[in-house]
Amino acid sequence: MRVGVLAVQGAFIEHMRICQELGAETFEIRCAEDLEKKFDGLILPGGESTAQSLLLHQLGMFDTLRTLIENDLPVMGTCAGMILLAQHIENEPQAHFSTLPITVVRNGYGRQLGSFTATFDVGEVLNFKARFIRAPYISQVGEGVRVLARFDGRIVAAQSGNQVAYAFHPELGDDMRLHENFLRKLV
């Protein structure tokens, strides 16, 4: 089982460490050549979505990755990764991959002083301690999207087919259950 982790900017090492601990092989996706490798799943990490999206275009990876996602490659997006997947961004004119039918609000909880942790159920995963860092939230979901978690009345995790998106950072802390779920789908 091989997981490609987008590694142009952000907290990609944290995702790789957890996947490796769970027995998966990982590699960094930094340039177009890396996409020639075969892989079973893709992780879009936290970071700055504007910087990541620009680099995806400039390094010639954007179209290939979008096609792979459209063709059912399992993908997990966290925070900035969720923004990359979203079909609409409420407070920005331009969406990115636009493959997941959700609308997100970027920096939905404000600046760093608004960052927080909270514990709630994420689908079948009970009592997950989630870390929100300048996080977005989901304001609307389209048809066929399953809401996995709500906190304080807002949707913070959703899934549709091969795509799962978290507004928070399952790659931080030592709870690996959401990664476990993701890797299970790759087998």
Binding site: A7, V8, Q9, G10, A11, F12, I13, E14, R30, C31, G46, G47, E48, T50, A51, L54, L55, Q58, L59, C79, A80, N91, E92, R106, N107, G110, R111, Q112, L113, S115, F116, T117, R131, I133, R134, H169, L172
Partner: protein, 308 residues
């Protein structure tokens, strides 16, 4: 224990957990900036240029270090109006500088809800003995360091991100290289030591032993470490990343150069693919004039010596 004391103890236990959480969240914001470039900007227009060029954060300040150096005099925190203007212009994190030890300036920056405070030697120090007690704040702090002792002292005061001091506003990377190599060498040394030798090391470094122990076990700092000071070209950025920086600050290097937008973007791409020499060669081509710069021995004011 009376019921009121136990209630008090419970409340302070909650407060302690929250504080711990806040420190973690602040360290984690720095983790999200990794592999990115943080750019000095002085106007909302420059902030937009930086964001569009792929900056992962901007540092709002009134004058870039090269101009502070040229102007001389006392250099202070920026006007809140200018900081607000930059906060409104971009969606990426906005950082701002306060003087070393000037906790009232830090309180103002916290009130402005800045995303990260840089307690910076680039400004005139306000206290020649004490740094800010950063644990007293909810807002995160980044601090400069020339060596491991300084880095660990700043972390013990509550800094949740470290950067090399380098020598700001010079366009000369030599000091950032020296500081990064020094910190890495000292960490490698501590990693190789026996557990019972760490107490003396802590004494010598004038740093808490629990932080020295962390370095011994992990071979790295407990917070993210960026390169800063004198970085002016994509090659400088690639050099610092290969030396172990987890990202870079670019101060005067961008807006003192001939073509800021192009240079800014070239440095962003170089940081994301710092091992790809062919790409960095392409990025370095026809970039226009780099900032003129000053050599180390021509400098009259060594900012890196401020605040040990």
């Amino acid at each position: 224990m009376s019921s009121s004391t136990s209630a008090k103890a419970a409340t302070s236990a909650v407060a302690a957990t929250l504080k711990e959480d806040r420190v973690s969240l602040n360290r984690e914001l720095a983790q999200m900036l990794k592999g990115g470039v943080i750019m000095d900007v002085t106007t909302p227009e420059q902030a937009k240029i930086a964001e569009e060029a792929g900056a992962c954060a901007v540092m709002a300040l009134e004058r870039i270090p090269a101009d502070i150096r040229a102007a001389g005099g006392v250099s202070r925190m920026s006007d809140p109006a200018m900081i607000r203007g930059i906060q409104d212009a971009v969606s990426i994190p906005v950082m701002a500088k306060c003087r070393i030890g000037h906790f009232a300036e830090a309180q103002i920056l916290q009130a402005l809800e800045i995303d990260y405070i840089d307690e910076s030697e680039v400004l005139s120090p306000a206290d020649d003995t004490h740094h800010i007690d950063k644990l007293a704040f909810d807002i995160p702090f980044v601090c400069g360091a020339k060596n491991l002792g300084e880095a660990l002292r700043r972390i013990s005061e509550g800094a949740t991100m470290i950067r090399t001091k380098g020598e700001p506003g010079t366009g000369d990377v030599i000091q950032a290289v020296r500081h990064m190599r020094m910190i890495n060498k000292e960490m490698a040394c501590i990693k190789a030591m026996r557990e019972d030798e760490l107490y003396t090391v802590a004494k010598e470094l004038q740093a808490p032993v629990d932080l020295v122990r962390y370095v011994h076990h992990h071979g790295k700092l407990p917070v993210v470490n960026f390169a800063a000071g004198g970085i002016a070209t994509p090659a400088d950025a690639a050099l610092m990343m290969q030396l172990g920086a987890e990202g870079v600050f670019v101060g005067s290097g961008i807006f003192k150069s001939g073509n800021p937008a192009q240079r800014a973007n070239a440095i962003v791409q170089a940081v994301s693919n710092y091992l790809d020499a062919e790409l960095v060669a392409k990025l370095s081509t026809n970039l226009g004039e780099a900032m003129v710069g000053i050599n180390e021995h021509e400098i009259e004011l060594l900012m890196a010596e401020r605040g040990e």
